[in-house]
Symmetry: C2
Subunit: 410 residues, 2 copies
């Protein structure tokens, strides 16, 4: 069967070569990466990947958000099966994250050629622009603009820290890759994204493969507490309005709310803090902090939303920064991925993603699911990000089997 033939043709050595080559564009600190979306490093990585695609006889398109589509034609001109991820990184990121999913797709294209397989449907490898959101906000920009092109009008005005707009960066990409034809959204048979887990679940379970059933929903908030900035030495305690104490006093009640709603599935993070004026000898006049709350049940997210205000001091300002409903992946694609995992002969388990992925947006457009491989110590977005080579290979083998099986579906 051609799915098994393709699986057998996957080369772990070649996969490592693709990963090593991609890591030469935008090396970061301590063996990590710093390849920001639409930077010169990103452009050079794209140019290399496009050249590799053309060596395989693939056609390449781009679109208004600089996503890249690398197409291996099928026996018939049916809606394709797509796979892919992103190649931008966090400022102190690792070499896997989105890169692994893209290089896995490149390796599957080689395996198909080596196995001399032509699938019924075309198979496309996609590179989604700016998934990390670390240069331009928001993340998953390319995939969200692909699925809903009206979003791009707004995104084009967003700026990076140096004041460069998304629009200017996209125009530079269009100029740099002027030979690439543009293509709008097309009907798609299925989308599969292979990714490192970025959490500790598979590693702790000792299972090398995960079939992802969905992505947790998320709510992001900002809380602003206003006190009065005053001298730490001269202001009696009774006359203080210390914004830092106001803010930290709210953490217990917020945690209790999350605990009550989610129990052991609680995912609550106060990750970003800005204290003003942030001086040793000055009482904080204003403190803002972020809340990241995730759950797979929309009812829990809504209940958190409803009760959060009551956890805060009366005059605190609560802003909802972002929210995304839980994503449930397509059961028919999941079933194919389960067969793909079985075809590797290795253990797998169902898992839920705590992180966002481009697949979150693709699921709005076509049948979608994901595969995970373990992350050592659950670490990602860090130069220490690591997955064992055998696990990296297993993920690509399961992906190869699944893409061919999906592409053979009439």
């Amino acid at each position: 069967m051609i799915a098994d033939k393709t699986l057998q043709a996957v080369s772990a050595t070649r996969l490592q070569h693709w990963l090593d080559t991609l890591a030469t564009f935008g090396p970061g600190t301590h063996g990590g990466m710093n390849r920001q979306a639409l930077s010169e490093d990103d452009f050079q990585a794209r140019a290399w990947l496009i050249a590799e695609a053309r060596k395989l006889g693939c056609a390449v398109w781009t679109d208004g958000c600089a996503n890249l589509f690398i197409r291996r034609e099928g026996r018939e001109d049916l809606p394709p099966v797509m796979t892919g991820s992103h190649i931008d990184t966090q400022p102190t990121g690792g070499t896997l994250d989105g890169c692994y999913g893209v290089m896995a797709g490149l390796e599957v294209l080689h395996a198909l050629t080596d196995a001399n397989v032509q699938t019924l449907r075309p198979i496309e490898l996609v590179v989604w622009t700016n998934e990390e959101g670390s240069r331009f906000s928001p993340g998953a920009m390319g995939s969200s603009a692909y699925v809903e092109p009206a979003r791009l009008t707004d995104y084009r005005g967003h700026q990076d820290a140096a004041g460069v707009t998304v629009g200017a960066a996209l125009d530079a990409h269009a100029q740099r890759f002027a030979d690439l034809p543009h293509r709008a959204k097309i009907a798609t048979h299925a989308f599969v994204e292979l990714h490192i887990e970025q959490g500790p679940v598979l590693e702790q379970a000792g299972v090398p493969l995960g079939v992802v059933h969905g992505i947790q929903g998320v709510r992001w908030y900002q809380v602003r507490c206003r006190g009065a900035s005053a001298h730490a030495g001269t202001t009696p305690t009774a006359l203080r309005r210390d914004a830092l104490l106001m803010a930290t006093a709210a953490l217990g009640p917020i945690d209790a709310l999350a605990e009550r709603l989610a129990g052991e599935n609680k995912r609550l993070t106060f990750g970003r803090w800005n204290v003003h004026p942030n001086a040793i000898n000055t009482i904080a006049g204003e403190v803002t902090f972020s809340i990241d709350f995730r759950h797979s049940d929309p009812a829990v997210l809504n209940a958190f939303d409803a009760d959060l205000g009551a956890c805060l001091p009366g005059d605190a300002e609560l802003t909802r920064l972002f929210d995304h409903a839980p994503t449930t992946f397509d059961s028919r694609v999941i079933e194919v991925l389960e067969h793909g995992c079985n075809a590797t002969g290795l253990a797998w388990q169902p898992i839920r993603s705590g992180a966002f992925h481009d697949a979150m947006y693709l699921a709005e457009h076509c049948p979608t699911a994901m595969l995970f491989v373990p992350s050592r110590d659950g670490i990602s977005h860090n130069p220490l990000e690591y997955t064992e080579p055998a696990q990296l290979e297993a993920g690509v083998r399961a992906l190869a089997w699944s893409l061919v099986a999906l592409a053979e579906q009439p």
Copy 2:
């Protein structure tokens, strides 16, 4: 009596003119000031003040830390009575703070001339360099280096945010004011510093003058909590090591310790926070925060120091950044200042300073005390810093009387 004659010669109009003129050098935002130590603005302000001093027939010296000494000769060449403060400001400071004490001294020199008074001892107006410490650390650099010149060797290597060393800035000052003779530390009969309170005590009591008996001692610490930076979505609560939660959990025990030791006199501030990597969707891997604890009793400061470690998580790293013992001002100088306040006909009260002042270091060298006037809403280090003109005048009148009385002491 010549002290009363001098008090009567103080001009509120002229005082306001000095303050307004000084405020033209280094204007900041919203009516405030931004005159950093040894900046071009500071140099221009110094040039103006030196010119004003020479119009009055005063001699001017500087020293290795760019302090300025403006001397009105006495009838005899005895150790002088000194007064003064500083003219550098916080980046978003007001127009009073140290400026008031220096302009008050300039006005007293004018009042002495108008009243045709020559005191027994010389009277010197001093401008201390870099009291704020906002450009170069530490604060009170000029007064501390004056009292203990060995400190200057270390200070000269300190850098501002742009990498300019104190040494280079001092050399630029020496070049700019090459006509000023240098003078080392001299025996001093007394030092009096007039300052705004920078706190709410006098205003709340409705009392226009405060005679300062001492300065609270202070301990500055930094606490570093190390957790593990991880993805907010993918990391189960049980596996997290959230440095932000470690840090905030310590605040309650630290507060309880301070409350137990100091009761209603508690002055405890957690003013500076650094959260790493400070991203909404990443669990904090490292959090550092500062502790500012002040008290007038050395035993309380020592007890806080002894018990602080027990309030922190086991692996937190505690660093003592700075400490200064409580300062007790000289009782004979205090007595003169009480008479000076009485001579204004206005109410006064004893008070303790919560803030540092150059007088803290001068007290190590000679009999020293301070006068305070109220700060509206207790605000300072802010463009909203304000003291009523009648209160500003009262302070200078009390200062004038006191300086003459001290300078008549044999």
